[in-house]
C-alpha cells in the first residue's frame, strides 16, 4: 500500500468510518510492536504500548499533518509512548530484561522446525537479551536512533522526520550511539563483543 492510500484511509476514518482505521492498525502493528518491544523488552508491556499508540493516533487523527508520512507520525507517537512508559516504570525494577519466559517474538511458541539447532536458538536469544539490555542503558536520544535506524532499519531521513531533528543530527547520534553501545557491550562482556 502506498503512502497516498494511507492518506486516503485517514480521510475515510476522519469522515466517520472508524472501521477503516483497522487498515492502518493491521498494516503497522508489527513495526510499532517491534519498536515498543525493543524499548521495554517485555511483550506484555510492548503490546500495551502498541495499543496505546494506535489509540492516541486515532484520537489525534485530526492533528495529523498530511504533508508528512502517516507511518513516521505513528512511529513518533510510539517512541513518545514508550519513553513515557519507561519514565513511569523507573520506580519499578526492570525485571523484564532477564525474564526467560518470553520468546523473542513475544508470546509466539518456540519454533517446531527440526532443522533449527536449539543451541543456535539459545545463543541468538542470549545475544538479543544482551543487546536489548545494552540498548536500555543508552540515553533516550541515543536509544531512539539506535532502535529506529539500526534495529528497525529506517533511513536517517526517516528517523529525522520521526524525531523532528535535522538529518545531520541523526547521523552524529547514530555514530555516537554505536560507539556508546560498543563501550557498554565491551563492559558487559568483558572486552569480548
Amino acid at each position: 500500500m502506498t503512502e497516498q492510500t494511507d492518506q486516503a484511509v485517514v480521510q475515510r476514518v476522519l469522515a466517520g468510518d472508524t472501521d477503516e482505521f483497522s487498515t492502518l492498525v493491521n498494516k503497522y502493528q508489527d513495526r510499532i510492536y517491534s519498536v515498543a518491544l525493543n524499548y521495554v523488552s517485555n511483550p506484555e508491556d510492548a503490546m500495551d504500548i502498541a495499543q496505546e499508540t494506535f489509540l492516541k493516533a486515532y484520537s489525534n487523527l485530526r492533528r495529523f499533518d498530511s504533508a508528512s508520512a502517516f507511518y513516521t507520525w505513528l512511529y513518533r507517537i510510539a517512541v513518545n509512548t514508550a519513553i513515557d512508559f519507561l519514565r513511569k516504570r523507573k520506580s519499578r525494577p526492570a525485571d523484564s530484561l532477564d525474564d526467560e519466559k518470553y520468546t523473542e517474538v513475544g508470546f509466539e511458541p518456540e519454533s517446531k522446525d527440526r532443522a533449527v539447532d536449539p543451541e543456535d536458538v539459545a545463543a541468538q536469544r542470549e545475544q538479543a537479551r544482551i543487546l536489548r539490555k545494552a540498548i536500555s542503558m543508552l540515553s533516550d536520544k541515543l536509544r531512539a536512533v539506535i532502535i529506529l535506524h539500526d534495529v528497525e532499519g529506517l533511513s536517517q531521513e526517516e528517523v529525522a522526520d520521526i524525531l523532528k531533528i535535522p538529518v545531520g543530527t541523526v547521523k552524529s547520534r547514530v555514530s555516537r550511539a554505536r560507539a556508546e553501545l560498543r563501550r557498554i557491550l565491551r563492559k558487559m562482556m568483558g572486552d569480548a563483543v
Binding site: Q29, Y33, S34, M47, Q127, A128, V151, G153, V174, L181
Partner: protein, 160 residues
C-alpha cells in the same frame, strides 16, 4: 587519514555515507591498520546483530482491542450520569476535608489534668514497670502515654 579520523568515520562508512574520496582513504588506512580494521569489524558485527532484534510480527492482532477502546471512549455517557458526580464527589470531598483537618488540627493532650506530681525516682520506677508490662504478650502498649511519662520524668530529673 589517521586512526582518529578513520575511527570517527566508521559509522558513516558502514552506512555507505562516506564521500567517495574519503572512502578510498578510509579503505587504504584499514588495509594497513589492524586496530582500525578490528574496530570496523566489531561495528559491522554489532550493527548486523542489532538488525536481528527487529520483530517480524506482532504476537496478536491489535485491532479488536483498539476498536473496543475506541468504542468505549466514544460511547455517550448515560443521561443520568450528571447525578453520579455529586453523589460520588460529595462524600469523597467530605472525607478528604476530614483527613486534612485531622492532619492540621492539634491532637488533644493525653495527660489527664489531675495527673499526680511524683518525684523523679517514682517516675522512673513507674516507667520501668510500665515498660515491663508492655513486653508481655497481649499487653496493650499505651505508647503515647508512656512517651508523655518519659518526657515528664526527664523534666523532673533535669529539674532536680
Amino acid at each position: 587519514m589517521n586512526c582518529g579520523k578513520v575511527q570517527a568515520s566508521i559509522s558513516d562508512y558502514v552506512d555507505g555515507r562516506l564521500p567517495e574520496r574519503e572512502t578510498l582513504e578510509f579503505e587504504k588506512h584499514i588495509g594497513s591498520c589492524p586496530i582500525c580494521a578490528g574496530e570496523l569489524d566489531e561495528t559491522r558485527r554489532m550493527v548486523s546483530a542489532l538488525r536481528s532484534l527487529a520483530v517480524p510480527r506482532s504476537p496478536v492482532d491489535l485491532w479488536p482491542q483498539v476498536r473496543e477502546s475506541i468504542q468505549a471512549a466514544e460511547r455517550p455517557a448515560p443521561a443520568w450520569s450528571f447525578l453520579v458526580r455529586p453523589v460520588l464527589i460529595a462524600p469523597a470531598a467530605i472525607a478528604a476535608a476530614a483527613a486534612a483537618a485531622m492532619l492540621i488540627l492539634p491532637l488533644p493532650k493525653q495527660v489527664p489534668e489531675n495527673f499526680p506530681a511524683l518525684s523523679a525516682s517514682e517516675y522512673r520506677g513507674y516507667v520501668t514497670e510500665h515498660l515491663r508490662f508492655q513486653k508481655r504478650p497481649f499487653a496493650d502498649p499505651d505508647v503515647v502515654f508512656t512517651a508523655v511519662e518519659l518526657d515528664r520524668t526527664n523534666i523532673r530529673t533535669n529539674g532536680e
